[in-house]
């Protein structure tokens, strides 16, 4: 192996000021990833010996990590100054190798993802050509198999709908569908293939950076979202443990303050589900720099939702609103489960009244809306907080427009009773004042 590659890397790093990751290098030079890692290491070594350039490197560390008695396999990307710290925290270090070399001190992990983006996108079909991770069973599905899979996933949701209507949980439709699919993938594959399968999911979903923090407790964690739909709020602990590490006020406050409300997982979009389940129970207090996977996913989805909302609703809306219809449909007829985009555009009277047409009964509902409040606190600092506030609304245009955010209702147990009472009361009075809708013809049974 001649030393030409050293000049190449030198050119990339110093002249072009690129972030050279091992994956990018292997795709650019057409070599196996392990060779690329060695190249980077030699280059770094040589430059350090010469003492010439100010180079910075990031490393990928993976190994066994024990936290609160649970052992997990943790993979993380850390800066050089945090490397020893990360290694010492692991009970057994399985592998350490150079992840990237660059001139700049990276303050966060975002650019690492962008650095590979184009190269990976170009080679999407064969991005694992030079990869060291192999699974003989991992073969792309034929289109017939893909169609079959779509049909089978469409069949279970009608069943789960019935069950949901009976329990006091209401979740968005795609959520039960996806965990089943993903759970199936994890059920059949070995635990040792976790990284491979999670990588495949990532590629399919075009999600975040390929380096993720995985966990052996992942399969166990995955059963929880699905079992939560069938169990009565009993399993709050796995919920909390996964939620705790997400530094988002909305989820933690909802878990803390409203224990009897539907699991917060219900409201989060599907992608976040996948991302969360793929992320290890991480220790926020740890100093290792990690790709803040769940954080970014949440924010991404927030901004995505914001984007979607803006297209449909031209009025400026600065608050992050999430609708969680937290009362079950008491009526017997099958209520059309509104998919997540529809839930997010809750303010569209059209969308809401469409689903209501079937019920033909104007109900008054309380819903929890995620609002962000900006205020000046004691020290004179401007603080923006996101929190759930109860808001009552009924599924008619008139009432909707006049609804204002009511004061936060911290008592969920009474909240539910109120909903039912107000619903029935509203139903009674609304029937008399509102014009009968077209479905009134079919109403009286």
């Amino acid at each position: 192996m001649d030393d030409l590659y050293l000049d190449n890397i030198d050119e990339f790093v110093n002249d072009q000021n690129k972030i050279v990751t091992y994956k990018w290098l292997s795709l650019t030079l057409g070599v196996h990833v392990n060779l690329a890692k060695q190249m980077l290491y030699h280059y770094l070594d040589q430059k350090r010996k010469e003492g010439s350039a100010r180079l910075h490197a990031t490393y990928l560390v993976s190994g066994k990590f024990v936290e609160n008695g649970t052992t997990s396999h943790k993979v993380s990307v850390v800066r050089e100054d945090q490397l020893e710290d990360a290694k010492s925290k692991m009970s057994l270090t399985v592998s350490v190798h150079v992840y990237s070399v660059q001139k700049a001190v990276l303050k966060d992990s975002g650019p690492l993802y962008s650095a590979d983006y184009d190269a990976v996108k170009e080679n999407l079909r064969n991005c694992s050509r030079y990869s060291a991770i192999r699974c003989a069973d991992a073969v792309p599905r034929s289109s017939a198999e893909v169609q079959q899979a779509c049909e089978t996933t469409q069949a279970p949701p009608p069943e789960t709908e019935q069950i949901k209507a009976n329990h006091s949980n209401l979740a968005s439709k795609p959520t039960p569908k996806q965990p089943k699919g993903i759970m199936g993938m994890f059920a059949t594959k070995n635990v040792s293939q976790n990284q491979d399968s999670s990588k495949e999911i990532k590629l399919e979903q075009k999600e975040d950076a390929p380096v993720v923090a995985t966990s052996k407790t992942k399969p166990a964690a995955k059963t929880n979202p699905v079992s939560n739909f069938f169990a009565k709020q009993a399993a709050k602990k796995p919920d909390k443990s996964i939620k705790e590490e997400v530094e988002i006020a909305q989820t933690s406050s909802s878990v803390d303050e409203k224990p009897s409300s539907p699991p917060p997982k219900a409201e989060t979009p599907v992608k976040e589900e996948l991302a969360k389940d793929a992320v290890v129970e991480k220790d926020i207090r740890s100093k290792t720099k990690r790709l803040e996977h769940s954080d970014s996913e949440e924010e991404k989805n927030d901004s995505q939702r914001k984007k979607r909302r803006r297209i449909k609703k031209p009025e400026p809306d600065s608050s992050d609103d999430e609708v969680i219809p937290d009362s079950p449909p008491q009526l017997q007829e099958k209520r059309d489960p509104s998919p997540s985009p529809e839930i997010q555009v809750k303010k569209e009277p059209v969308a809401v009244s469409h689903s209501d047409e079937l019920s033909a009964c104007k109900r008054r509902k309380r819903r929890r809306v995620l609002k962000s409040r900006t205020f000046v606190d004691d020290e004179g600092c401007i603080v923006t907080e996101k929190g759930y506030e109860s808001e009552s609304y009924s599924e008619t245009e008139d009432d909707f427009k006049t609804s204002k955010p009511t004061p936060k209702n911290p008592k969920p147990s009474t909240g539910k009773k109120e909903e039912k009472k107000s619903k029935k009361a509203a139903a009674a009075c609304n029937k008399s004042t509102k014009q009968a809708s077209i479905m009134g013809f079919f109403q009286k049974k």
Binding site: A104, K107, S114, K300
Partner: protein
């Protein structure tokens, strides 16, 4: 294959929208990378399919938003030659200037379906370059502030004064002190050329930052 001229305002608006969105992301990123504000106010968001850092502070966001809102009509008419983000030290002397030179070809042609994804790719590359620019620049002294200057072609600002785009957000002619920098060093960052816009990004840095 359609060829549009400048008079076709719809397309001009599209280009202006793209550029203003990009400038917003770029300004936030510059503030993050150059540590003008503490990194705590920034959160990761997604743009062009990659993570970027955007600020959460409402007043800062509003300021940047209003600034770009006023710049947009200039870009639409191709009157904006340069948009400059100036970072100044405590004495309001410029320390760094991030210059976005924008030029739009007079005949815009929408030649392919992949035009927008191509533009997205180029903008992504510019964002990446901003993220690693701290390798090429010296550290700034503490307590820096920033401002946005727009260099226009000819006399476009006279029209701007007549029509105030946003009330209570006036634009004034910049002081000599803010525009000129002592002993500037030029560091090119990125050039992008596409069918709809050509942009150059370079940094002018003062040779001695710590005063």
């Amino acid at each position: 294959m359609t060829t549009l001229t400048r008079q076709d305002l719809n397309f001009g608006q599209v280009v202006a929208d793209i550029l203003c969105e990009f400038l917003e992301v770029a300004i936030h990123l510059i503030l993050y990378v150059r540590e003008v504000y503490p990194s705590g106010i920034f959160q990761k968001r997604k743009k062009y399919n990659v993570p970027v850092q955007m600020s959460c502070h409402p007043e800062l966001n509003q300021y940047i938003h209003d600034t770009l809102h006023c710049v947009k009509p200039l870009i639409e008419k191709n009157d904006a030659e340069k948009v400059v983000v100036v970072i100044m030290d405590k004495e309001h002397h410029p320390v760094e200037r991030f210059v976005f030179e924008i030029s739009q070809p007079p005949l815009l042609s929408i030649s392919s379906d992949t035009l927008l994804s191509h533009v997205e790719q180029l903008l992504r590359a510019v964002i990446l370059k901003i993220s690693v620019c701290d390798a090429l620049l010296e550290n700034n002294p503490p307590g820096c502030t920033f401002t946005v200057l727009v260099h226009t072609r000819e006399a476009a600002t006279r029209n701007m004064e007549k029509v105030q785009v946003i009330k209570d957000f006036p634009w004034i002619v910049a002081d000599e002190q803010e525009v000129h920098m002592q002993e500037p060093r030029l560091i090119p960052l990125k050039t992008m050329t596409s069918d709809i816009v050509k942009m150059q990004l370079y940094v002018e840095e003062r040779a001695q930052k710590a005063s």
